[in-house]
Subunit: 240 residues, 2 copies
Amino acid sequence: MSQLQRIVIAPSQIDSPHILLNADQQHYLSRVLRLRSGDSFIAMNGSGQSWLVELQLDRAKILAAVDPKSELPIFVTLLLALPKGNGFDDVIRQTTELGVGCIAPVISDRTLLNPSPNKLERWRRIAQEAAEQSERQIVPTILEPMPWVDRLSENSDDPRFICLARSNSPHLLDVLLEQRLPSITLAIGPEGGWTDSEIKHAIATNYQPISLGCRILRAVTAPIVALSLISGVYENAPKP
Amino acid sequence: MSQLQRIVIAPSQIDSPHILLNADQQHYLSRVLRLRSGDSFIAMNGSGQSWLVELQLDRAKILAAVDPKSELPIFVTLLLALPKGNGFDDVIRQTTELGVGCIAPVISDRTLLNPSPNKLERWRRIAQEAAEQSERQIVPTILEPMPWVDRLSENSDDPRFICLARSNSPHLLDVLLEQRLPSITLAIGPEGGWTDSEIKHAIATNYQPISLGCRILRAVTAPIVALSLISGVYENAPKP
């Protein structure tokens, strides 16, 4: 069953025991995926529920709920300074594969370009596709880009960490092995790193500095490293 | 000192206490990096030694040996099935950032295209650039692409692992936390995974199946995850 194709549907499309398919979805299922009436696929609502369904022309019949347990047992929010170029697409794709819950793009002092308005739409589409392909139950939320200082001023009960290069801060892996957390917020800087004032601001609002290791990682690599460590520890490592 | 620019030089360029610079390097230093005579940079021989040097027209004077300790204390060999498209460039760049020692591109049953001969040259250039940028001491070795079966027939004392999706194999993180290894070989398959016969072959030649977690990772993401876990454990985690 795990090899079945997946598509995300809106809650409003559910008309139990059927799911009504819109024109785009019908086209995708029949023309792109080449499914025929009677073929099965997985419909997911993007917020944790999935169903095994059977294609029937313009709708799909719900056969069973499925529970592939592919979600991380910790809710991860990434605050990511926007990198140069298109690197952010890959970051969204790969952190979605690795189980991120929410991505908040951040405009930092060293962010070169403000993203165009249609970027957000594009990022959300990438997150949805990556969630389908990696067989997740949840499509990560992608928030609107926001200046770092504004993002910092938001209240949150999450343990909050800011990743710093060239620092003697504790390593994320050590922090993760030390205590079980229900959720975590990690801020990762742009190429060239956070500015001193950005770091000061973060620490003043309860962000703890952490390290991702002793080599210099690019802004597009660091989020993947962080998620790899989180998913490794929370899904598999011996409990502390 | 860590913010200095780095370039890789050949051992034959060392004429102690100077390093003779070739025309490309002179151009790169003066035109691209905009260094002038008297400016400092780091010259590295790509196999573990680096020097703080001072630019003097067509050569550089060695001021001191440097030892930034940016290398992993475990030698990691990655056997990577070639993915579609240009994804392999990113894999080389990112695993180099994360400390890989050797990359062996593998032609698997599901590899779509044989790489063109100039690819190898390109990959080696990417590894060198990524080693410079991530402030490594060693430029990873990139081997010639080779069919999986031929690669398997090679002798090695390394503990060898093959990463499998949808398996109940032990997680790489657990394996890493269990015992300290001086070196490790990890084989990671193509989009769509290894074929059954490839897996059988590997197990018959002492590859142990391991998992990278319960989501489906793309072929370009899995190597980053593996290296993230290895560098996290070997550089920072509490010793078992």
